[in-house]
């Protein structure tokens, strides 16, 4: 469903990686590994359609990325995209509406990430890990979105949150979803079809 052909990316004139070929089918998990600066984030942004590749192409369901495919791809980057002035619940509500997910059980989603009691707290008062959990709560609403692209989802999370997140990912994959993630930790995720790719310059 997700394919890339001879993908090459550059940042500021530097070639990060070249000839990356990915083919991901329903239920597939792809771990992107590589040293700092090897282009993991750039690869994910390219798959999300944010960054243009220097060469090659990203194809989703056999077609180039377009406004239709954006409905089926969820991208969560480093930045949590939380507004300090809004409460955790308001932030989740906005990101859910923006991404057009139909599932609006916000409280349940916060419950699954263990931050239901923080729902009415402005995001300004959250710790780094809590911010991460608040951003990830959208995943609990996005089971209908086939492809998840997660950039360092386990960073700043404690053991409990890591377990909650990997359970969420496993159930997404079991339901036929697809997942691409970058991570320095090898967090076990139950997947019917798990692969890894190593980025080298």
């Amino acid at each position: 469903m997700l394919e890339t052909t001879a993908l090459t990316c550059e940042r500021g004139g530097w070639r990060l990686f070249s000839d990356v070929a990915i083919a991901l089918q329903a239920g597939g998990l792809l771990r992107v590994r590589g040293a700092n600066g090897s282009g993991k984030t750039t690869l994910l942004r390219t798959l999300a359609g944010l960054t243009r590749p220097a060469a090659g192409e990203v194809r989703w369901r056999g077609k180039a990325l377009d406004s239709e495919s954006r409905r089926e791809i969820l991208f969560l980057g480093h930045a949590a995209a939380l507004k300090d002035e809004l409460t955790v619940l308001e932030n989740l509500e906005f990101s859910a509406r923006l991404s057009g997910v139909g599932d609006l059980r916000f409280k349940d989603a916060l419950e699954r990430l263990g931050i239901a009691r923080l729902a009415d707290l402005p995001a300004r008062y959250l710790s780094q890990g809590q911010r991460k959990r608040a951003a990830l709560a959208r995943l609990a609403l996005s089971s209908g979105v086939p492809l998840w692209l997660l950039d360092e989802p386990f960073a700043a999370l404690d053991d409990e949150a890591i377990a909650q997140l990997s359970a969420l990912c496993a159930s997404h994959l079991a339901a036929g979803g697809m997942l691409v993630l970058t991570s320095h930790q090898d967090v076990p995720i139950a997947a019917p079809d798990a692969r890894a790719i190593e980025l080298r310059g």
Partner: protein, 222 residues
């Protein structure tokens, strides 16, 4: 699509309500700048009446310029803009919604405060009405073209100064016909022609502004 427009406007207004300082700053700046002129120029009524429209409009341009860098900067810094670009909502609708909210929070209050400024300059009632009308039609143009400028200077160091150099020249036609409408009313000429031209600028900039802003945002986040 209308739904996306509505919830983004609602969110912007809610955010503004939680940090009222930003909105008040712009309004107070406008009032203070416009009130400084009579103090500097002296209380000669004919002179004040003649310069009233120009002063009110220039103060409005500067106040708009003060507020523009924030239009996309916060969303850019915290990653919301990235989420907006990957979302299935059309980027043009998102940009239009943010621009509309910007006008509701800056242009509209400025326009409504302008008759108060006009009183300081001894403007007659008909000229006050024309000043209000010209600002109501003209300030959305500032938000629309300003959005394109704000998107182009996003993430650039010293972007605020660059933004001024970029958009102030574009504001010139609005200034000329906005202030011209009030002057026409003062001299007994029908200001309808000036206001119609302002309306034409509004129509053109509502097409060009969001389109340019979308293209610039995509480049800024590449």
């Amino acid at each position: 699509m209308m739904q996306a427009f509505a919830f983004i406007v609602r969110r912007e207004l809610r955010l503004a309500l939680r940090r009222k300082g930003d909105v008040l700053n712009v309004l107070v700046f406008f009032v203070v700048v416009a009130s400084l002129f009579p103090l500097g120029v002296g209380p000669e009524p004919n002179q004040l009446r003649a310069m009233a429209a120009g002063v009110a409009w220039i103060a409005a341009l500067l106040a708009a310029l003060l507020s523009l860098p924030r239009l996309f900067a916060a969303d850019y810094a915290d990653g919301t803009l990235e989420q907006m670009l990957v979302s299935p909502q059309p980027l043009a609708v998102i940009v239009l919604a943010k621009t509309a909210a910007h006008w509701l929070l800056t242009g509209l209050p400025l326009a409504l405060a302008a008759p108060l400024i006009g009183l300081q300059y001894d403007l007659p009632a008909n000229a006050l009405c024309v000043l209000l009308a010209s600002l109501l039609i003209g300030t959305p143009v500032l938000s629309l073209l300003g959005a394109a400028g704000a998107a182009l200077t996003l993430g650039v160091r010293g972007g605020g100064a660059l933004l001024g150099l970029l958009v102030l020249p574009l504001f010139v036609p609005v200034l000329v016909f906005g202030a011209g409408a009030v002057t026409a009313a003062l001299t007994g000429i029908n200001p309808a022609a000036h206001l119609s031209l302002l309306g034409a600028f509004l129509a053109v900039s509502s097409l060009v502004g969001p389109w340019a802003a979308c293209a610039a945002l995509r480049v800024a986040l590449d």
